[in-house]
Each structure stands twice: as C-alpha cells, then as structure tokens.
C-alpha cells in the first residue's frame, strides 16, 4: 500500500513537472507535430484494420444471435452502430493503442533514461519531463479523437460489407438500422472516453519509462508495466465514465 501511494505521489509530481511552462513554445510545437505523426498518424493503419474486422464480426454475431422473425432486420445495423460507437471505437481501440503506443513511449523514454540522454537534457537546464512528455500528451489528446472517428466509420463500413456480402442483411436494412434512433450524445460520450484514455495511456507509459533504473532488462519491464497498468486503468475508468456519463 505504501509502495502504491509512493508511486502515486511520484506520478503526480511528474505531472506537475510536465505541465509547467514550456521553455520555448516553438520547439514544443515542432515536437508535438512530430509526435502526432509518430503516435497518431502511424496508428491509423492498425486502428483501420482492427476496426474493419471488429465491425464485420459484430454484425455477423448480432445476425446469428437475432435469427428470429420477431426481431426486425435493421436491428443488426443498429447493434453494430451502438456497439462500435459506445464501446469498441473508444475502449477497445484504446486498449489496442495502450499496447502499441504505450509500450513505444515507455521504451523510448526508458532507453533515454538508461543511456543518460535525460541526464543530458537536465544538464543543459531543460525540463526533461515537460520536453519529452508534454508533446506526447498533447499529440494523443488531439489526435486520438480523430482515430476514434476513423474507427467508427471504418467499423460500421466493415459491418455493412460483412452483412451485405454474406447475405445476412440487405444494404437498405443495415443503413436504416445505423440511422434508427441515433443519439448524437453517444459520439460525445465516446470522444470524452477517448480523451481520458489517451491521457491515461500517454501519462502512465511516460511515468513508467521516465523512472526506469537499470539497463535494457528494466526498460523491457517498464514497457510491459506501461501496457498492463494503462489497460487496467482504461477498464477502470471505462466503468466510472460510463456510470457518470450514461446513467
């Protein structure tokens, strides 16, 4: 318990350092743009592939579980839409990004720590925590909502293609289903979750990397811890946010 509270204290102290005034905003801006490419744009591929197939599977599963004449066919489209918007594109995509982006951040910062690159920054008088972590947090906060939107569009498209090509639903019924009783607030809910999860992934992974002590073995461990802790926190905050925003 004491160890947990100590770690929590270190995390908040690190965040205080991260959110201090940037030394030179123009450098931070450039760094943020680099991180948007590195952490955001480079994640479009994996998010697109996973979303497409998840949308397809959700549609097929819903179809096989609603093979009953009392259920209208458009229910498949509606189920696909709501599953993707409410859970998949925010939560499941965040878990995937925790694996890809989280381990990447922890190993990058951890390697900088063990090879004294962070010491070199501190030596020059640079606030290393802010310089290394703030651009990553800003980049993911800005770009992950876009990834979620892409995931929603691609997921629903995947569902539509799987449904129509396999013949479990007609195109008209699917499109009617995804338009039926649409609640725009669900998108807002999904975006709020995405932003919170983006912060968790980036800050927790950076924290794990920043305090690595040792060598390559410890960097690997930090990378694993980053993914595990981010994933658990995402699941925990998913419950909290769902209760707060949908109840």
């Amino acid at each position: 318990m004491i160890k947990f509270l100590t770690q929590l204290g270190h995390y908040f102290l690190l965040m205080k350092k991260v959110f201090s005034k940037p030394e030179k905003p123009s450098i931070y801006y450039k760094q943020t743009m680099k991180e948007i490419v590195f952490l955001g744009i480079n994640s479009i591929g994996i998010i697109t592939i996973v979303s497409f197939f998840m949308g397809a599977v959700i549609t097929l599963q819903t179809a096989y579980n609603t093979e009953n004449p009392i259920y209208p066919a458009y229910l498949i489209g509606l189920g696909c839409r709501d599953s993707i918007i409410l859970e998949f594109s925010s939560t499941i995509a965040a878990l995937i990004l925790a694996g890809k982006v989280g381990s990447n951040i922890a190993s990058e910062i951890g390697t900088m720590r063990v090879t004294e690159q962070i010491d070199a920054l501190e030596m020059m008088g640079v606030n290393s925590a802010s310089f290394l972590i703030l651009p990553k947090i800003v980049a993911t906060l800005l770009f992950n909502p876009l990834l979620t939107l892409i995931s929603i569009i691609v997921g629903i498209t995947g569902g539509w293609m799987a449904g129509t090509l396999s013949g479990v639903i007609s195109s008209e019924n699917f499109i009617y289903g995804i338009q039926y009783a649409f609640i725009p607030y669900y998108i807002v809910y999904s975006m709020i979750k995405t932003v919170v999860f983006a912060f968790i992934i980036t800050s927790v992974s950076s924290f794990q990397g920043y305090f690595v002590d040792g060598g390559s073995l410890e960097v690997g461990r930090a990378s694993t811890k980053a993914v595990v802790f981010s994933s658990v926190l995402i699941l925990l905050f998913n419950v909290i946010l769902t209760q707060l925003l949908l109840s």
Partner: protein, 250 residues
C-alpha cells in the same frame, strides 16, 4: 573555479561520498581518478546537480549552486557542458541537430547563424561531412567528439567529462584527451574529467584528485602522483605489471 565543501551523498543508506572537499581551478584540466565504484561519477553528477547531495556545499565561483532553485540552477547550467560516459547523443536527431539542440533551446540565433556555429564546433572536434548522419551511423570515437561539440556549442565556462575514454582504442583516447585539454586552455574553461585511465592522467592531468571508497585520499599534480606515499593511490597508479616493474626498478 568550482569549490566543493564537505560533500556527502548516500543511496538507500549506503554512503557513496563521505565529506569530500576539493577545489577545481579555472583554465585547468582537473581530474578525478579512482577505481570503478569509488564514487567518481556520483561526485561529478552531484557537482552538476544531477544528484541531490545529503550534506555539503558546491560553489560555482561565488554562487552556492546546490541551494539554488530549479530556475536559478538553469541559468548556471547554461554555462555548463557535459560529456557523458556513453556520449548521450539524442538518437532521434542527426549529428547536426544534436549539436544545434542547445542553440535551439537557449538562444535567439537565426537558423543560418546556428548552422554556422554548429559547423564551427564540429570542425573544432574534427568532424567533417557527418552533419546528416544519425548517432547510430557513427563510431564510438566520433560520438564522443560530437558530444564534445554539443557541450561547447554554448561556449561553456565549465566542462565536465565522465570517462571520456571508455570504450575507445588508445590512439583515439589520446586524441580525445588532447582535444579536452586544448579546449580547456583555448576557452579558459574549468574542466573536470572523471577517469581511471592512467594514460589520461599522465597526458592531461594538471590537478588530480584521487577518490577511494567515497573519500578523497589524495590530491596533487601529475608530477607528484608518482612519488606519493599514499598506499591506496600507489596500488591504483602502479596496478599493471609494467608499472610495478618500473616502480621496483627505481
């Protein structure tokens, strides 16, 4: 001038530095020597503020450095350059960007001015036509030299070198030593070099401080070191068989 007074530092209850007092002089190559694990690197990192000390004072000229807040330390740190044991070049940047980094962060120079300064520093350390290479594409000796170029980019008053010769062949090691000595004299820098390489001691050592088990055991010049009556120092200086033979033949 850098003055250290009664410096102590421990990690998890283990004393690594114990009551170390020493003065490092301006325009001289000051060497901290000692066996691996004797506390040299901890002393150097404590001097530059990378480790918080438990007790003692670190004076840069007439400023008590270790009692300053982060913002005030930052001003002094702009006058420091440091060469780390593993060079610590930023992997994601090219050679040119590495040397330009302190200029980007702390000056209002235009890009052509910065590039001119970078090229001057790289030329000073004999690195030519490597501006666009990444650190992974250059040799260990070149990395050290690029790291020196980065360290001198802002015209530092203080230069710190942690094991500048580690992992280098003897000829490259001598070149790096010579470069450090030249820069120290040329710009009248207060230079502190951590080393356990006796070649470096004899080549560039002007003031030498010997550390053993976290305590200062001896200080003097390279001329004095061969005639010391400090047994621990003699064991260190005359560690190899050739040196032992030379000593016994005297």
């Amino acid at each position: 001038m850098i003055r250290i007074k009664n410096l102590s530092k421990s990690f998890n209850g283990v004393n690594v530095l114990n009551d170390v007092s020493v003065t490092f002089e301006t325009g001289k190559t000051n060497l901290i020597i000692g066996r691996s694990g004797s506390g040299k690197t901890v002393l150097l990192k404590s001097i530059v503020g990378l480790h918080e000390v438990d007790e003692g004072e670190i004076w840069f000229e007439d400023i008590l450095f270790n009692k300053l807040d982060f913002a005030s330390k930052k001003e002094i740190r702009k006058e420091m350059g440091m060469l780390f044991q593993g060079s610590a070049l930023f992997d994601s940047l090219t050679v040119e960007q590495n040397v330009r980094y302190p200029l980007d962060m702390f000056t209002e120079m235009s890009l052509p001015e910065k590039i001119e300064r970078v090229n001057f520093c790289l030329k000073r350390v004999d690195i030519i036509n490597a501006n666009n290479l990444s650190p992974s594409e250059i040799s260990g000796g070149m990395k050290k030299r690029v790291a020196i170029a980065r360290a001198i980019a802002l015209n530092p008053k203080y230069l710190f070198c942690d094991e500048p010769n580690s992992g280098l062949d003897p000829i490259t090691a001598i070149l790096i030593d010579a470069l450090i000595k030249e820069l120290t004299e040329e710009y009248s820098i207060t230079t502190i070099v951590n080393t356990h390489d006796m070649n470096s001691v004899m080549e560039i050592g002007e003031k030498i401080v010997f550390i053993s088990d976290g305590e200062k055991c001896w200080e003097g010049s390279k001329n004095d070191i061969l005639h010391s009556d400090c047994e621990t120092l003699n064991d260190f200086v005359f560690a190899n068989s050739l040196a032992k033979q030379l000593r016994s033949s005297k």
